[in-house]
């Protein structure tokens, strides 16, 4: 992902999409579908929501083709859209939950049906206990720290690229990651 050749090729593909070449969009989708979906799933930890968000990411990429300028790495732009959508969703979800708690405590209004975001029994059976612990530990991280860890660990992004995605300085990313991993070290200390 860090190779400059790959950068030029992806940006070139996107410029072709800008010129109306639908096949190039197909190539970009094929190349980044899995990584974007994986990142979003680990961010929101819900298969349905992460797929919806991934769809929105690629829709926005396609919609923005006319204004696209190859000024940054294509993946930086792509993960910036993905991170922005995930952080917004997490923020809205938190607000919704807070509002529900307030509603429940002040009124006797009928409770609204909320989709169960906890992993199903089937999923728990499939996933090992260790993985479940990892999931919870990552989910407990502050949103921005979580995004930084996921991009660093799973997408193997450079600090400078993560900084661009999160719109902060490289030193801020290093400090964010150091704190995040510190928390994870404490939470996952018992894991061999």
């Amino acid at each position: 992902m860090g190779a400059s050749v790959a950068l030029d090729y992806d940006a070139e593909l996107m410029l072709r999409v800008k010129d109306g070449d639908g096949a190039s969009f197909g190539l970009l989708l094929e190349k980044y579908r899995a990584s974007v979906s994986r990142f979003l799933f680990r961010m929101v930890q819900d298969q349905g929501v992460s797929e919806e968000l991934a769809q929105e990411v690629f829709l926005r990429v396609y919609k923005s083709r006319e204004t696209y300028e190859a000024t940054a790495k294509f993946t930086t732009w792509l993960f910036r859209i993905a991170t922005h959508l995930a952080l917004n969703w997490l923020r809205d979800e938190k607000n919704e939950r807070t509002q529900e708690r307030l509603d429940q405590s002040t009124e006797d209004a009928p409770t609204r049906e909320v989709p169960d975001r906890a992993p199903s029994v089937e999923q728990l059976m499939v996933h090992a206990v260790k993985v479940e612990e990892v999931r919870r530990a990552v989910a407990a991280l502050p949103d921005k720290q979580r995004a930084a860890v996921l991009m660093h660990k799973y997408e193997e992004m450079e600090y400078s690229q993560i900084a661009k995605v999160l719109s902060c300085s490289e030193s801020a990313v290093k400090s964010l990651l150091f704190r995040a991993y510190e928390t994870l070290r404490v939470r996952l200390a018992h894991m061999a």
Binding site: R33, V131, Y181
Partner: protein
């Protein structure tokens, strides 16, 4: 090398060293430091444990209909005015290219023939002019002859 944990500098070296991502030169520096620093050794050990635990978390691939749903959404989304304007022409775009090339060749041919076409009228104009001059000279000759005829007739009547 100064202790990254105590100085809070180059902490990324420790993270990358634990992940096995640090380049050989820096990795050698960190390795030498870790041998003598218990705090950093503990950090590396804990970080490697976290790294391995995170590696166990795999994610299912997207559902089979992902692309189909995406393309359907793209089709359903209102297009920009440029797209709406040029979309009906897109299927014609490629077949039009040889036609356009042929038209261009014809246009070039016409342009190249224009000077010759302008020369021809000029040549014919010269021809016409010569003919006209010739005809005019004939006419003048005829008029002179006509003018001379009454005089000659007068002279003959005087002599009679």
């Amino acid at each position: 090398m100064d202790c990254p944990i105590r100085t809070q500098e180059n902490t990324d070296w420790l993270l990358d060293y634990s992940a096995g991502r640090l380049d050989r030169e820096h990795a050698a520096h960190v390795a030498r430091h870790v041998e003598t620093c218990q705090e950093c050794a503990r950090f590396v050990e804990g970080q490697q444990r976290v790294w391995n635990a995170l590696s166990q978390w795999e994610v299912d691939p997207v559902s089979a209909g992902f692309d189909r749903r995406l393309y359907r959404a793209i089709e359903a989304r209102p297009a920009s005015w440029k797209d709406r304007l040029f979309r009906p022409l897109r299927p014609l775009w490629r077949p039009i290219i040889p036609l356009a090339a042929a038209c261009l060749l014809i246009a070039v041919g016409v342009v190249l023939h224009v000077p010759q076409a302008t020369i021809r009228p000029a040549a014919s104009a010269e021809k016409i002019e010569a003919e006209q001059v010739e005809r005019t000279l004939d006419d003048m000759q005829m008029l002179r002859e006509l003018e001379m005829t009454p005089q000659q007739e007068g002279n003959t009547s005087k002599s009679l």
